[in-house]
Symmetry: C2
Subunit: 626 residues, 2 copies
Amino acid sequence: MQTCKVTFTPENKTVEVRRGTTVLDAAKAGGIHIQSACGADRLCGKCRVIIKSGKVGTKPTGLLKSDEINHGIVLACEAMVFGDVAVEIPPESRAEKAQIVLGTRDDAVHHSKILQHNPLTTKILLKLPPPTLQDAISDLERIYRELKKQGIDNIQTSLANIKNLSALLRKNNWIITITVGKRHGAAEIILIEGGNTSMTNYGVAVDIGTTTVVAHLIDLVSGRTVGSTGSYNKQITYGDDVITRIIFAGQKEGLEKLHLAVVDNINSLIETLCRENNLNQKSITAVSAAGNPTMIHLLLNIDPAHIRKEPYIPTANEMPVIRAAEAGIKINPLGLLACAPGVSSYVGGDITAGLLGTGMTESDELALYIDMGTNGEMVLGNRNWLACCACSAGPAFEGSGIRSGTRAVKGAIQKIKIKTAALSAELDTIGQCKPHGICGSGLIEIISELLKAGIIKRDGKFAPESKSPYLKKTEQGMEYILAKSSNSATGNDIVISQSDIDNILRSKAAVYAGAMVLLKKMGHTIQDVRHFYIAGGFGSHLDIAKSIQIGLLPDVPLERFQYIGNGSAEGARLILLSYDAMTSVKKIAGKMTYIELSADNAFTEEFVAALFLPHTDLGLFPSVKE
Amino acid sequence: MQTCKVTFTPENKTVEVRRGTTVLDAAKAGGIHIQSACGADRLCGKCRVIIKSGKVGTKPTGLLKSDEINHGIVLACEAMVFGDVAVEIPPESRAEKAQIVLGTRDDAVHHSKILQHNPLTTKILLKLPPPTLQDAISDLERIYRELKKQGIDNIQTSLANIKNLSALLRKNNWIITITVGKRHGAAEIILIEGGNTSMTNYGVAVDIGTTTVVAHLIDLVSGRTVGSTGSYNKQITYGDDVITRIIFAGQKEGLEKLHLAVVDNINSLIETLCRENNLNQKSITAVSAAGNPTMIHLLLNIDPAHIRKEPYIPTANEMPVIRAAEAGIKINPLGLLACAPGVSSYVGGDITAGLLGTGMTESDELALYIDMGTNGEMVLGNRNWLACCACSAGPAFEGSGIRSGTRAVKGAIQKIKIKTAALSAELDTIGQCKPHGICGSGLIEIISELLKAGIIKRDGKFAPESKSPYLKKTEQGMEYILAKSSNSATGNDIVISQSDIDNILRSKAAVYAGAMVLLKKMGHTIQDVRHFYIAGGFGSHLDIAKSIQIGLLPDVPLERFQYIGNGSAEGARLILLSYDAMTSVKKIAGKMTYIELSADNAFTEEFVAALFLPHTDLGLFPSVKE
């Protein structure tokens, strides 16, 4: 085996490693810390080091500028040593502890913010000295003593972990893996396993939307997301929106049914993630969930009745961290479930956690956060103040309540261009395959294109006078054919109907009206807002310009917008990966003022005015007017 | 209704109360604190006040000296006002919080020590302001906010208490009672009940002995013991002592059987206490348990196998506070179970908790604590150091393994005098009724009397030459008739057999030998010990002089002895009533060194030498020799 010597400065420490080892791994072997925020995922660019002599193998990367490369800077996580090298670690690349980067996942652009890698559950390998007559402390004290040596104090445990402890320790020759969880303001021993399982610790971050449920499988050791999946919320059977579900929960066995539906959802998603990643569910020791307060109440089987009755009081905004099994979630039977804390009956942990990623709560500049879920929530403010409101936007943007609607999955139409000549549609689907439906971002494009082509009018009604051969009259009214049955994955025509368009109009009007009322209430105009953060389940793509064209978003310079994808799922991920994130989210929740729109005529007025494309008052959309 | 004005100085506050109200209750009504350590039980004498003018009704009390009475001093808890009075509260009678007195229960004499009344679970009445649109925090936050106002911070809760919270609050017009428990180093909401149940909060203190299980029902509001009961440990079916039970636990289903046996024991005792006191089990929110480590392991269904295998390691000395239901104990389903922390495999929480009452851990003088249970434990030391050991004494002193043996209950022979003329026995039973058996203290008296009367010899064997008409020869050997069948409650003769006497001799020899070896190991002689604290399940009575005569206790001046009764049960009571006691017991456990006797020849030598009455070496018992 050929070895290479890697000498690190300023430590002046030489480490001998196998040929092909990365500089980062060489540093680790030598006990030298280098920042690696993304978990050696070549995402963060934090692990820059300077090669002072010798050669390393690198791959092209957009994370380094050419003059940096010319100065010998490489990413330690990917630079492999093929001979003796001297490496200088610049101060900015040092870190005492591993860190994770917030954001920059998928195509979403997040405010970059460094959080400590300090997951909800952490596995710690312990090699205990076997007891002797001279060192005869109890088995549990032996574990506590070792954890204390590793800086973990104020330790709690449960009876479940003590019951078979004595046999477990002896069967495994005193080598065990302890899973420590953040709970009750202390370090709680969640799980004690025999042998070394410390490299196998997974968590699932769940976004429970009114319409969709999304789950990410996360390697809690590296911080990497290793799998993602989603489905429609099974509760839809019992009602499309939060209000109808709360009413259903009040009926006989209603609460139980809604609870079981979403738990079943989550369990199916976890099963899928485990199967796809060849993982035993016991390896999952933590679940984090973000959702609106009703979703979280139903998840925990708590009656949400008073959320919809004046004065609109949830049972709790901040739920205790419990064992996931208590809620029926199937992971390791002793694993934990933490929910992102909410603000009020209609602004939940999905929003507080989503905000975390934007950085707006730490900036002096005024920003507006808009989450376009079934329940449209928005937050206005900056580091000094935060005000939020919620309005029912409907599930259209999540592809529900739309005849050919679908979630942003493979085969979903996400972009569209109507060829003026034939007035037929040119489609782009996720995964570049035959279309099977239209997702949220596709719907926005369709409305925008149909309007531009004159196939629909500014009131959203079809214009038969456009004479498009793809316009069809049916018993239910007019519809526009996007893909013929012969070209679709379903074997049926993929169409958009008048009723679909009406639904989308209502959704976009609700979002716009909500934003306008919130601004007015806080004494601001749209022009005061320097940053717009748009969250939603549109997948990787949302065309901001087209969103403005249909009046979903206000008409301000495009550079003020950032589409951040599923902010709630991202928030859940951060809570899972960092206790600091949980603390920050609690602070955000504590700072936010909730503005109740339901009793407000201003909202109704704004809503009605916005039921036009882009708006009744074209003066508000000068760029569209042009 | 006639009212009286009670004016308190130095507050200069006048309270108007009903005629016949006690001064203490008048002070409470006026928000004025007076110490009342015993819970107005006329036990502690802490609530002294001076009547400056007016007259109050009092009863004779031994707690006040005649010159104090002449100076107008009365006990506020019993002095009733029958007209307008002026009361001065001296500084020593002031207290910011209620306190409990340790000891002075039954006839046992304890070192008096004041502990804060701060039970394992406390009920707090909350009258919450109903929510409004202006005060729309969640139900749980509303509770937390109110608790914080009462100085309770760092609050945790469980899902169980949240599930039906919203309905509970509204059904009870926002008046609820919160049970707060000491757990996870935080204040945990154990229970939320509708309405005001704050005056109904009970706990059960259990002493789990190898042979007997004793339970006290304690009013956690006043601190008073309202009922006591006991039974033999049902585990006896599976083995007489700790070692045979540990072996049995290793057999198929053995652990489960032992666990269920003791849980069944405790549940029966709790049922009895509830029935006798007309109490619903839901009103019991806490159980404390003290016992040797094997008993505690079995209570919690933890395999005790390694307690008896070198190097003798228990799974845990300090068990987590759990929900009593987790161990199968039937009280309020959300109530807690706390176990007194132990020191080693053979010295448990029964001893650490028992020590607490003696004050020896805070004194400069050398003391020896002896607990005469089936497993005889002793502790030598003072405020600076503590050393302990354990030896198997057998269950004889608890009335088990003795043909006519019984626990110290009604009908048990507790005193005896052999009339020299007829060599027949004159008996004194508990409750002054027909005898049904002999309890531990009775056995000691019988041996002492039989020896004095020459019916047995110094080696414990019957002396036929004594010609007692009550000596009988049977197939099993000789026996002495204490009560003829016609005079007994059982309808059978109550006798003591040769094998009974041999058992008692072994028990007393083990206790004495243990004490001697411990003293020698620590470089002390019996004369160095200033205080002997004797604990055991003898009931209210133990004749120290006769215990010396048979060589159970060493021959030192009688005034050095204090019989403290069931130290373990008393310790469990203190842990239940005061979190300070729990902290103190943990400190005691941390300070104690365990001396292993099993590998020691010195013990065997001492044991054999002590198998005589009082001892092979009469020089050790000069007062008996005379």
